[in-house]
Symmetry: C2
Subunit: 455 residues, 2 copies
């Protein structure tokens, strides 16, 4: 086996990206704008600034600037846990007996356990710069809430996290990490907001949903002085910050003269996938290269593969701007699968538009297959992957096995977004043989899709 390429490619500090890349600048057809839920007209900078920090709102609306300089303070923080390694999966290749070369960009080596920290620190920075005293957010599985807690602790900002009640109860340790970083964690729906009270009254005993927690966090932000709302996925600004993943991957591959053939990422709201693929899609849009890009989603929440491309609400309370996206409908209730980070009804507008233009493809996979891939990976590569990340592993293995059949030595690159230390209930169910697959029926999907707003 040719081992001229090290197991782990680390960029030097001075090779780290100095700018984020905004793929919208190279897109001929831009993603559709956010709409104000009251007027159904494109949301203006002033409207968005009431909810988001001003500079983040500017980033959100900017379809033209290709590169945004990463502020020095954020680059300093990045240096604590970045550059993340691009790992050559020699052991997995050997295990599979494939001629393919497999690489993964590993984003799990920080205490938040995932890539979420890349955008959390940026959003906390702009909040601090604007003179705010705190931010609010929601969290489902807990990765985003943890990342934001860490970022707020670093910049000494108050951090209010609304955590989906079922996760709050099932993942007490996630909550404890956030508390250790000084965050105030509230189970959602709570009695602290009007929307929370309303949902609790309508659905007594509900264990909450991401869409509901978003509504609570937004309400809390707009009713608290010097406070704004921040979000860990879906938005353009988040994909912008997450482009650091793709830019580092691109530099690391270039450094060793490797041209990727297939690029794979798991897709929930699109933060990791969008960040990983942006610079590569940029090359495609500029006619410089071609890649086979695959978004992987759970069969239980298949927004790209079975959703509709339409304007939809981002939250249950319908207080947020509407986004045009591949969606299952904001009333869709995903099954209790173990990839909490992939259980959102919609998909980033940028990713949706790229998919609609045929620049990327999508595939859905079932939970038991995903955990099987995770186990294989953990045993040979020594990293216990998050269930979310394991969706990408599953498809990377599938692609590598195809190469085994055809004899092709493709370069397969996938994003390993994080670790599974807080997902061991899922692993236990898998180890015990108690894992189930859930695939919504066409009738179930039609029900929520029929409730899409008329825009």
């Amino acid at each position: 086996m040719d081992k001229k390429i090290p197991y782990k490619i680390y960029l030097e500090e001075n090779e780290m990206p100095k700018c984020w890349y905004n793929v919208r600048a190279d897109m001929k057809v831009k993603p559709a704008p956010l709409l104000n839920p009251a007027t159904l007209k494109p949301a203006t900078i002033d409207e968005l600034s009431a909810v988001f920090c001003r500079e983040l709102a500017e980033q959100e609306l900017d379809n033209d600037t290709a590169y945004f300089e990463i502020p020095e303070e954020i680059r300093s923080f990045y240096k604590m846990y970045r550059p993340s390694p691009l790992v050559r999966a020699y052991c997995l290749e050997e295990k599979l007996g494939t001629p393919a070369h497999i690489y993964y960009k590993f984003e799990g080596n920080n205490t938040s356990g995932s890539h979420k920290l890349n955008s959390a620190i940026a959003q906390a920075y702009y909040a601090k710069k604007q003179g705010l005293t705190g931010v609010t957010t929601e969290t489902g599985a807990g990765q985003w809430g943890t990342a934001l807690s860490m970022a707020c602790s670093y910049f000494d900002l108050k951090c209010d996290v609304f955590m989906v009640k079922v996760s709050y109860e099932q993942k007490p340790f996630r909550r404890e990490v956030m508390r250790t970083y000084g965050a105030n964690v509230t189970p959602s729906p709570s009695m602290e907001t009007e929307v929370g009270k309303k949902i609790n009254a309508e659905f007594p005993g509900t264990t909450g949903s991401l869409g509901c927690a978003i509504s609570e966090a937004v309400e809390k932000a707009v009713t608290t002085p010097n406070t704004r709302y921040v979000l860990g996925s879906v938005l353009n600004q988040v994909l912008l910050h997450q482009s650091v993943i793709g830019l580092e991957t691109q530099s690391a591959l270039k450094k060793y003269g490797v041209k990727a053939d297939v690029i794979i990422g798991c897709a929930g709201g699109g933060s990791n996938l969008g960040g990983l693929i942006s610079p590569f899609v940029g090359e495609m849009l500029r006619g410089e290269a071609n890649y086979d890009i695959i978004a992987v989603e759970p069969a239980s929440c298949p927004s790209l593969t079975r959703g509709k491309y339409a304007y939809d609400f981002c939250d249950t309370g319908k207080v947020c701007p509407l986004a045009k996206m591949y969606t299952l409908g904001s009333s869709f209730i995903p099954s209790a699968n173990h990839a909490g980070g992939l259980r959102y009804h919609g998909m980033s507008s940028i990713v949706s538009e790229l998919y609609d233009q045929g620049l990327i493809s999508a595939r859905s996979v079932e939970q038991t297959d995903v955990f099987k891939a995770a186990e294989t990976f953990a045993r040979v590569e020594g990293i216990l992957p998050a269930p979310e990340s394991s969706h990408a592993i599953k498809v990377a293995i599938d692609e590598a096995l195809k190469c085994k059949e055809t004899g092709e030595s493709k370069n397969i690159v996938f994003g390993l977004t994080g670790t599974g230390y807080f997902d061991l209930v899922g692993y236990k169910n898998y180890n015990d043989g108690n894992l189930k697959d859930y695939i919504p029926t066409d009738e179930e999907l039609a029900k929520s899709l029929n409730q899409l707003p008329k825009v």
Copy 2:
């Protein structure tokens, strides 16, 4: 602030150690030999080989060979998660306002979450090489058991882990990681061994201890064909393998022309501390340099600072060889503090001898101070440290604050052995203000010390 030194110093693959370093070779007075518990004479290679793999037994007894080549297979595995970064703690320095330069060698970036993997993979390799089909071991907090499970999975060996019952019940997720790596995990004391049955009969309802789990694992090894016992700390062979930590640290410091002044490690059985300091102690023994080396132990289990230097049993069942070490007596029951990895009654013979010769010093610290240091560290350095590792953080902070008083720019290096993702019960108690300090009284210590064997 001078930032010529990067936040994280990564060695290149070709700069990684090719040999382990055996500090005993440079010691004029060698550590005392292990004694056969039946004869009270030095254990021979044949006696040890009945329990341990032959090559490991040879390493155990070899006081003369300074360098052992690291087999290619182990170096390949090391490349999956090593070199580990030597991190310059710029943010912690700034937070403390100290002129000191603080560095930490971070061993937590692998799924076992600690340095234990360095020796686990070596021991599994020699077991495989000898043609064994499996190994047995004990685990308390779970780091060692997890590391060994990963190593055995890699070499396709059967792995039987006796896990102290209280941990088995309190840390179901640790157990689940081991199961994911294919290990068979049994709560100890069990009814699977004679010694387990005996202890269960004598102390009905006991939640077990490390000493008891060791006895069970040894019995299981010697009564199962093609199986040997392996141990994650205390032994000379373990410190040999763990020297990879110190060797990498030494190379990384040299690469940037940094001379350490103070070197700090937490000490339970001595595996991390011994591994970290060995190459530096070697320099001291050869008269090449001088370092201020500090072993940090919990005030609740103070073997170096309040123990006796004497021969003692390593396990409750008294089936293992006796070791000369600083000990609190094998009948000492440490309090339920949260640093499970530091709750062993004795200390590595090598570390004990170095301490007795005055080459290293020791300090004991209390649990609440340790968690306070952990919190400070987590918030500025972005890593949630294990409670064990946080003992070293506490003393590193103390030393850095001393520098603040004196104005000295000392180079302080400490070992950050692992992450605290499975220790959040401890963090919760700290966050809730429910953490207690336990310090054994002189009377309590006298009780167990009076039961030391007459050798």
